[in-house]
Symmetry: C2
Subunit: 177 residues, 2 copies
């Protein structure tokens, strides 16, 4: 009943916001959710990690211990957190070279390229990634997520971000096929 | 070495942002920080709770277990979380009636009134509160916090939010005196 997400990449990629939106979408569907952002030596090196735990029941321990889904947008985050993956699925940006040492189920998805080329704004890569995560995991519905995105993104950027979310769901449908 | 903050009030008061800014200021001063936002049945009732744990060392458990500082901006959050306070200090909005049943050290501070009347914008109550928390706790310096506020608030609102932060530090100086 408990699903754990770890979102990793570099600072400035907006993964904290993606985590907040995912958590809020979950509660719109009457689940419980905890969103955590850790800062420390690794954050100072430009790395970023946000986690979301979603459950139909109370959440005692708020951190991901054995993530069901890892998002990795950079080679560094793929190496660091990919190596820790057991049962779960890795969603890694297609720009990142895959490693034979990382054995977990892996979907390589062009998230950064879709943001910068199809949508023309690399800053929406976080919302593209959110659509991919939601589509692959099936944790929340697309309409719910649209509502949560609209609630949280800066005013005036709603349409762009909704387009980004839809692109993410499309990428997920292709990756899952 | 570990300092725990719990920020509570109602949804829409921006306490998640206040928690994020506090955590970011701490890492600018080379500390470790974890920021957590829990969503669930209570969030659906309009309540909001954000937590920040700051430490010079690694943070194993990311949630507040015995908060050093509780911020409570509503009667409901004061009653719910004030009753759980042990060693720590409660910073409660001056609009909230105090209860003799809540025994922890308590500072009653006009946070909401300062935001709506002195600054003319009740939405900056979260940043006023942040200044109060930082001033009372001494956890981060005012200049560091200014930097973190500027990094995180919406563009165009920096000056208003810096004014709010300063008002918060002034309120803290008065409350501590």
């Amino acid at each position: 009943m408990r699903t754990e997400f770890r979102l990793s990449g570099s600072g400035g990629q907006g993964l904290l916001l993606a985590g907040i939106v995912l958590a809020e979408a979950a509660i719109l569907e009457d689940k419980n959710a905890v969103q955590t952002q850790s800062y420390g030596p690794e954050a100072r090196g430009g790395a970023s990690k946000a986690e979301v735990v979603i459950s139909a029941e109370d959440i005692d321990y708020p951190k991901a211990t054995d993530p069901d889904y890892l998002l990795a947008l950079t080679p560094e985050s793929y190496k660091t957190y990919g190596a820790l993956m057991g049962k779960g699925t890795i969603i890694v940006d297609a720009s990142v070279p895959l490693s034979a040492d990382i054995k977990a189920r892996t979907l390589s998805v062009p998230i950064l390229k879709t943001a910068s080329e199809d949508l023309g704004k690399k800053v929406v890569a976080n919302i593209v990634a959110l659509g991919v995560l939601a589509g692959v995991s099936g944790i929340v519905g697309e309409k719910t997520l649209e509502l949560a995105v609209k609630n949280r993104v800066p005013k005036g950027t709603e349409d762009l971000n909704i387009s980004a979310l839809r692109k993410g769901f499309e990428l997920a449908a292709r990756a899952n096929a």
